[in-house]
């Protein structure tokens, strides 16, 4: 069953479309990797799922639903009940995402209390259990620690503990390791994948790390300038990319010694608010761009299972269709 469904979701800030008509779905127990260069709308689209887009941002969609409940039309209060319990999110910078004025224990217990309730003793025991679960040594003493007493890796573990406190069915992780030391990154990813398997959560993993996505994701969404240019099962997308952008990303992979390719495959940068080109947004950087591309924006082709947004999707040999 589909856990989260987005159909033609857009997020606009005034005239600027930070997220432009994207559609994807996440099933129970599925890992969805979202990749794309900086500014491609990965964070904004996830925040819109959490209901965290502030004024002046506006979210519109033909359908934004979680477990068949329409998130956009439900009352604010009901939505807040789902956020933090059924859908949880962890953020990029663990050192700034915990409130500096409150202890670790307080912040975990607060999440538990908000959604599940219970008396002090039970809550405390559950918080300790969670700290254990995310691999924090000596959890008893960590309960009373303040965020500034923790390292980045520890903070991220605490944030994960808070996010999974109410057994979410879906966890969105927005570049959960970008701010951490390389040695810690793998540990955090292992922890996330372990938890995902153990609890059979849906996991949306936003990252710049293509190699990681290839390793852990069931499905992939590739974003560019607010749009989904390609999506599909991970093995298909990685073996036979159908969009020139994906192809370029993958081409850059083996060259990086560490296997952690940053997404700088094509010359140029993602167009921002003021320099979006006419026609296909990739056309200034696309090696296959034609005049047609520069004037007419391509539609999404295919189904939700396997979509590609290009006039001339690539064939199995990686050549543009005639």
């Amino acid at each position: 069953m589909s856990l989260l469904t987005l159909e033609n979701l857009s997020v606009t800030f005034g005239k600027f479309r930070a997220v432009d008509n994207i559609s994807y779905s996440v099933k129970e127990g599925e890992v969805l990797g979202i990749v794309g260069e900086s500014g491609s709308g990965k964070s904004v689209s996830s925040l819109s799922v959490m209901g965290l887009i502030d004024y002046p941002g506006e979210v519109s969609a033909d359908n934004l639903s979680f477990a068949d409940q329409d998130l956009l039309s439900m009352p604010e209060k009901q939505r807040r009940k789902i956020t933090g319990s059924d859908i949880a999110m962890i953020f990029q910078d663990p050192m700034t995402s915990l409130n500096p004025c409150f202890t670790v224990g307080y912040q975990i217990i607060e999440a538990l209390k908000t959604h599940d309730g219970g008396n002090k003793k039970v809550l405390r025991a559950r918080a300790l259990e969670l700290l254990n679960l995310v691999g924090i040594p000596a959890p008893e003493s960590r309960m009373n620690a303040y965020p500034h007493q923790l390292s980045g890796g520890m903070s991220q573990r605490v944030m994960i503990a808070i996010a999974i406190a109410c057994n979410p069915k879906l966890l969105i992780a927005d570049e959960p390791t970008t701010a951490l030391d390389v040695t810690i990154q793998a540990q955090i990813i292992d922890l996330l994948i372990d938890l995902q398997k153990q609890k059979q959560m849906g996991l949306v993993l936003i990252t710049h790390d293509l190699a990681l996505v290839a390793e852990v994701a069931h499905r992939v969404v590739v974003m560019y300038a607010g749009q989904i240019v390609e999506s599909g099962p991970a093995n298909e997308v990685f073996s036979t990319p159908r969009h020139p952008y994906t192809q370029a990303l993958l081409a850059s992979l083996p060259e990086s010694a560490s296997g952690k390719a940053r997404l700088e495959a094509l010359p140029g940068v993602v167009p921002g608010q003021y320099d979006r080109p006419q026609g296909c947004l990739l056309s200034p950087r696309c090696p296959y761009a034609t005049d047609h591309c520069r004037h007419v924006a391509p539609d999404s082709q295919g189904s939700l299972e396997r979509q590609v947004k290009c006039h001339t999707p690539l064939d199995a040999q990686g050549r543009p269709a005639a």
């Binding site: 959490m50 965290l52 004024y55 807040r80 009940k81 789902i82 956020t83 933090g84 319990s85 949880a88 999110m89 953020f91 910078d93 700034t96 995402s97 915990l98 409130n99 500096p100 004025c101 409150f102 202890t103 607060e110 999440a111 908000t114 959604h115 303040y146 500034h148 007493q149 923790l150 390292s151 520890m154 944030m159 808070i162 996010a163």
Partner: protein
């Protein structure tokens, strides 16, 4: 924490030394103590002798050293006008000023916090805009206009409140003349403390609003929202505590502004406090009293700021508890 306290103490000593030197120099420039002590009938030679005796012909630094030594023993000189120890004169007026400042401060906190928070939470609301407009205007309205305005309506037109003096006082703990414990005293306190609060509130509204807006955009507030916590909890528990930290610090610095405003307020309402005393001392060129006032005020300033730092340290876990080091 210990080095923090030591550093703070050293700073305090330096500030006090500077103030004491400044007030010593002012005292030296204001009038001639010998003239104050003896009439014009005394001959020039006799005066010179008296000057020698008083040490007024010694090098400045020696005189300052003596001044400092006496100050450390609690002797800040004798007022020309009251013919009494300046410290005693000031101490008698201290309760009036402290009570006025205290009440004004309470009013400021009670008004500025909800207004500042409201304006930060609802930036588009017309009420928020009015609050902001009021605080902008309030910043530029001089206190005497506020005071005279209030006095005119409440004391003269409507005869609701007394316009000057402190009213009845009660003796508290044997040495403190307080106006807080009887109706007459409180009535007298109302207009001056409201005027004083009125000019201090806008600064704090703006400060709290600005800090709160900053805090509300922080990562930890976004994460708190993502936990599904209720809005009041986010605003008043998660955000407010972080907002108040910088506000406490600025509050300490604003002590100086508050002291300056007490001088004006007390003069307008003839409030028998230190500020009023100071104005009198200036008119009478009562040099020892002026310099004693400056030193006492400096002391108050330093003490409040140190207290504020300590409170800040107690509230802020990042100061209280050493952090993680990689």
């Amino acid at each position: 924490m210990l080095s923090f306290v030591l550093r703070r103490l050293l700073q305090a000593v330096l500030v006090l030394l500077t103030i004491s030197f400044a007030s010593f120099m002012i005292q030296g420039k204001l009038g001639d103590p010998v003239r104050q002590m003896v009439g014009t009938s005394v001959s020039v030679e006799q005066r010179e002798a008296l000057r020698d005796e008083l040490g007024l012909n010694d090098p400045t630094l020696v005189q300052y050293g003596r001044f400092l030594g006496q100050a450390l023993q609690g002797d800040l000189g004798t007022s020309y006008y009251y013919k009494e120890s300046t410290l005693t004169v000031i101490a008698n007026r201290l309760p009036a000023t402290l009570e006025l400042s205290f009440c004004a401060l309470v009013l400021v906190i009670v008004m500025a916090t909800p207004l500042g928070v409201f304006a930060a939470i609802n930036p588009k609301n017309w009420l928020s805009r009015s609050i902001l407009l009021f605080s902008t205007l309030g910043l530029s309205i001089p206190i005497f206009i506020v005071a005279v305005f209030l006095m005119y309506f409440f004391a003269i037109e409507w005869r609701l409140l007394p316009s000057f003096g402190r009213g009845d006082t009660t003796q508290v703990l044997g040495l403190w003349q307080s106006g807080l414990f009887n109706k007459d005293g409180l009535m007298h306190l109302l207009l001056p403390s409201v005027s004083l609060a009125f000019v201090m509130t806008p600064i704090f509204i703006r400060l709290i609003r600005a800090e709160m807006i900053d805090v509300l955009q922080s990562d930890y507030i976004r994460f708190a929202w993502s936990k599904g916590i209720s809005a009041p909890r986010i605003y008043f528990i998660h955000a407010l505590k972080n907002t108040m930290l910088p506000v406490i610090t600025v509050g300490g610095i604003q002590t100086g502004t508050l002291i300056a405003y007490t001088i004006l307020t007390e003069s307008i309402f003839q409030w028998p406090g230190m500020g009023f005393l100071f104005m009198d001392a200036v008119t009478r060129v009562d040099a020892p009293l002026i310099s004693a006032y400056l030193i006492v005020v400096g002391l108050i300033f330093v003490v409040t700021n140190t207290l504020v730092d300590v409170v800040y340290g107690l509230v802020n876990p990042r100061v209280r508890i050493p952090g993680y080091s990689a």
